[in-house]
């Protein structure tokens, strides 16, 4: 297999209807979403976000992922050359599967969020006996 070389993709900025209270750009993180028999797994690239600054919200099948970055550059640093901006992350999805909210797990590792959304066990078909009356 030929080794693939990576290409730079510009960070996409969110054109959100609501504005944040703090100034600064908000970016759309790249995600992988996959599904196995038990769960839906979301992997999201959010460099600069610490695990304590990730917020996951699920209501009415609307999944919202937000990540806030800690300032990386120290005070007194002067920018010489800049190809990207630092910023927070926001992404929303509408889930088609029913998810067991109580069992959602999220882990942040090296700037990548791993979110596991376990599916609700489908109601098993039940036989209904007809009573003779």
């Amino acid at each position: 297999m030929k080794e693939k070389e990576m290409e730079l993709k510009e960070k996409k900025e969110v054109k959100a209807p609501g504005e944040g209270t703090r100034p600064g750009p908000i970016f759309v993180p790249a995600v992988d979403i996959l599904e196995n028999v038990n769960a839906l797994i979301v992997l999201s690239d959010m460099p600069g976000v610490d695990s304590k600054n990730v917020d996951i919200d699920l209501r009415d099948n609307q999944l919202t992922i937000t990540g806030k970055i800690d300032p990386v550059e120290k005070e007194g640093e002067v920018s010489l050359y800049r190809e990207f901006n630092w910023g927070n992350y926001l992404r929303q999805f509408t889930l088609s599967e029913v998810v067991d909210q109580s069992k959602i797990t999220a882990k942040m590792e090296n700037g990548v969020l791993r979110l596991v959304l376990p599916k609700v066990e489908k109601a098993k078909p039940q036989k209904i006996k007809v009573m003779a009356g």
Partner: protein, 147 residues
């Protein structure tokens, strides 16, 4: 290898210069500072203070053992591989936006650095390379004596 010369925007040549000029014009209208993109992964940010240069890149999910950083002849070279692990084979992908592959990036440094004191660290997927300035590149205050 893709080598991007560090240049002051007004010293950039050809297409980059035009692009920068256009960006600058637009940003002047929009009031924001648009980044100057080179299209080589990873995107870099270089800053300085009186003691050091700081080169930073967003490298989420790149293991430190897959990163190789060197300083050669006034150039900072960042190379490595981003591996996006494959989940279990029975998993079904709905979306696949996260890229994987090899990357190489070189950037000429704006001034001499103390090569032996360069250090690098990764925190939350952000690489920071600290490049201490060579003594002669540090700003020096010259006291003016009265004769």
């Amino acid at each position: 290898m893709a080598i991007v010369q560090w240049t002051k925007p007004d010293e950039a040549s050809g297409a980059d210069r035009l692009r920068h000029e256009v960006d600058r014009l637009f940003s002047a209208f929009l009031g924001g500072a648009e980044p100057f993109i080179s299209h080589v992964y990873p995107a870099l940010s270089i800053t300085e203070d009186t003691e050091n240069f700081y080169a930073r890149a967003e490298l989420p999910g790149v293991a430190t053992e897959d990163l190789e950083i060197s300083v050669v002849e006034g150039r900072l070279i960042i190379r490595g591989e981003r591996k996006v692990g494959v989940e279990s084979p029975e998993a079904n992908y709905h979306r696949r936006e996260r890229e994987s592959g090899l990357f190489r990036r070189a950037v000429a440094l704006p001034a001499r650095v103390a090569t032996d004191k360069v250090s690098a660290s990764v925190k939350n997927g952000v690489l920071t390379v600290i490049l201490p300035k060579a003594e002669e590149a540090k700003p020096r205050k010259i006291t003016v004596k009265t004769a």
